[in-house]
């Protein structure tokens, strides 16, 4: 049931406990305990909302930044990653295979702000040897959800 519970709330974290327990065919207390355990052991790391900020007046700009680093005897990938992801502006940070070592997702209010972060905060980090910044121009799909108006049910209303 654990995995089924996680799959359910991954797509909708707002289902209340009562409904969750009915959908899973389990007791409410059992589901509550399981959720608590999953939060405590770090399997559930948070509950977030997927927002299409393009529909608002809020100015936001996201960038994907590829980062190359030079590791050293005292400075492995994990340690360098920590130096990078501790900045609040960094929304996500991954170690990746391929031509670059890290991929980070950066959130800023303006392009200038992002550019400033790269030039004055990220690049000067010791061991960072190069970056490539890609501004996100449009988000079509995020976290498995297509960011458009909800789809209409086009089925015939009644069928055998």
């Amino acid at each position: 049931m654990k995995e089924e519970l996680l799959r359910l709330i991954q797509n909708n974290a707002r289902i209340d406990l009562k409904e969750l327990s009915v959908m899973l065919g389990a007791e409410e207390a059992a589901v509550a305990n399981m959720l608590q355990d999953l939060e405590q052991d770090g399997t559930i790391c948070g509950y977030y909302t997927l927002i299409n900020w393009d529909n608002t007046n809020e100015e936001k700009v996201d960038a994907l930044i590829e980062v190359n680093v030079t590791t050293g005897r005292e400075m492995g990938f994990d340690a360098i990653a920590e130096r990078i992801y501790k900045f609040d502006e960094v929304k996500a940070c991954y170690l990746i295979s391929g031509r670059y070592d890290f991929l980070i997702i950066l959130e800023g209010k303006t392009m200038r702000q992002v550019a400033n972060f790269v030039s004055s905060k990220l690049s000067p980090v010791e061991f960072v040897s190069g970056t490539a910044t890609h501004f996100i121009m449009k988000r079509y799909k995020d976290y498995g959800a297509v960011l458009e108006q909800p789809k209409k049910d086009e089925r015939e209303k009644m069928s055998f």
Binding site: M23, G25, E156, K157, S159, F160
Partner: protein, 386 residues
């Protein structure tokens, strides 16, 4: 002028529920729990395979029996899921949905006067198709106390010297009933003893929630040689509009069904067949995802209906719940009509699926949770105001 219509067509009863469907269609504000098809889109990789076949210009007829590649995938499917061997060349036919397969199978197997046993409530086409084949439909009213499974006693009571075919349709539309291995074994034994053939409509076979995979009666001892299994893509892969099904059975029967299919249909749509190959090859995960979601909604629906005071046996298959309204002093038709008028909610009266559906409603859970919640709150409101 002479009557241009044949006596067979003239005397065939149109489905009484059509009128009700038309009323619903004319009511844009009405919401419905009345569909018999999945709410999911066909998985993109399957649609993409159909599109790609069009781009490649694969717009010609296929062989009558269907693309060999697809028949081979059907054969692989039965081996993989049911440990059954069907020769792709001689024992598999690709049809225009399960509907065509039902019609063709009965035409190929029945002579005038042969009796076809049809347990009800059931899908609406079995009785008319039996009649079109010249056969005599003999219906068995299944009982809610047996969870709408067919019992050996009921079957024995219906068998006569003229019985040729038993139609089995589990998981069942409209009841959601399933027949498990132990149930089927008793039926199979009788069919072997009495030399009766089975047309097993297993279109909902991938949608069971017992925790055990669906068992086809063809896999039981002595049954493969006397069973025609009807299956398709509509429910398992959310492909209703593609009109694609498959039928498997002994070469002797399949070759004659194929002959009729060749004259009536030529071949199933080519684009759909290419999409079908992809579905069978890489679609097992899609089925899992959809089944898990249906099962969650099923639990929600059964619980909510019971909380409303509607008795409801636990349906372990398809995507329907079949609650009883017998205690409310209305017929199914009256209930459905009033519910539509007062709450603008459409459900299908059980009588649409046979007289023994009286006192029941078919409620579909091929809807999002939000739609189900809204619909069920209307239903609760209606019942509270009776």
């Amino acid at each position: 002028m002479r009557d241009p219509i044949s006596k067979t067509a003239r005397t065939m009863q149109p489905s009484g529920i059509r009128k009700f469907f038309d009323v619903v269609a004319e009511m844009p504000e009405a919401i419905s729990l009345g569909v018999g098809e999945p709410d999911f889109d066909t998985p993109w990789h399957v649609r993409e395979a159909g599109i790609y076949s069009l781009e490649k210009g694969r717009t010609f007829y296929t062989s009558n029996a269907g693309l060999m590649e697809l028949r081979q995938e059907v054969s692989n499917y039965y081996l993989r899921k049911h440990n059954l061997t069907y020769d792709a060349k001689n024992e598999v036919l690709i049809t225009v949905g399960g509907s065509e397969a039902i019609d063709m199978a009965l035409r190929a197997m029945c002579d005038p006067g042969d009796e076809v046993i049809i347990p009800e409530p059931c899908y609406v086409s079995y009785v008319p198709c039996a009649k079109l084949a010249g056969a005599v439909p003999v219906t068995i009213p299944l009982q809610e106390k047996n969870e709408f499974r067919l019992t050996p006693e009921e079957l024995l009571d219906a068998i006569t010297d003229k019985t040729k075919v038993l139609i089995l349709a589990f998981p069942n539309n409209p009841t959601g009933a399933v027949m498990e291995k132990e149930d089927l074994e008793k039926i199979a034994k009788i069919c072997v003893e009495k030399d009766i053939f089975v047309v097993s409509d297993e279109i909902y076979g991938e949608l069971t929630y017992t925790g055990k995979p669906h068992v086809t009666i063809a896999s039981l001892e002595g049954m493969q040689e006397r069973t025609v299994v009807i299956n398709g893509f509509s429910k398992a892969y959310a492909m209703t509009g593609w009109r694609l099904g498959f039928v498997t059975g002994p070469e002797e029967i399949i070759s004659h069904i194929t002959k009729l299919h060749q004259f009536a249909i030529m071949c199933a749509p080519t684009t759909s067949q290419y999409a079908g190959i992809e579905a069978l090859r890489n679609g097992d995960d899609d089925i899992e995802k959809m089944r898990e979601s249906y099962n969650q909604r099923r639990r929600f629906l059964v619980k909510t209906l019971r909380d409303m005071g509607l008795p409801c046996f636990e349906p372990y298959g398809a995507f329907y719940v079949f609650p009883s309204i017998k205690h409310l002093g209305m017929t199914s038709d009256e209930f459905a009509t009033k519910l539509l008028e007062q709450e603008k909610l459409a459900v299908v009266p059980g009588t649409a699926f046979g007289d023994c559906g009286e006192g029941f409603l078919r409620i579909s859970y091929a809807y999002s949770m939000n739609e189900l919640k809204e619909a069920l709150s209307r239903l609760a409101n209606f019942i509270n105001n009776l």
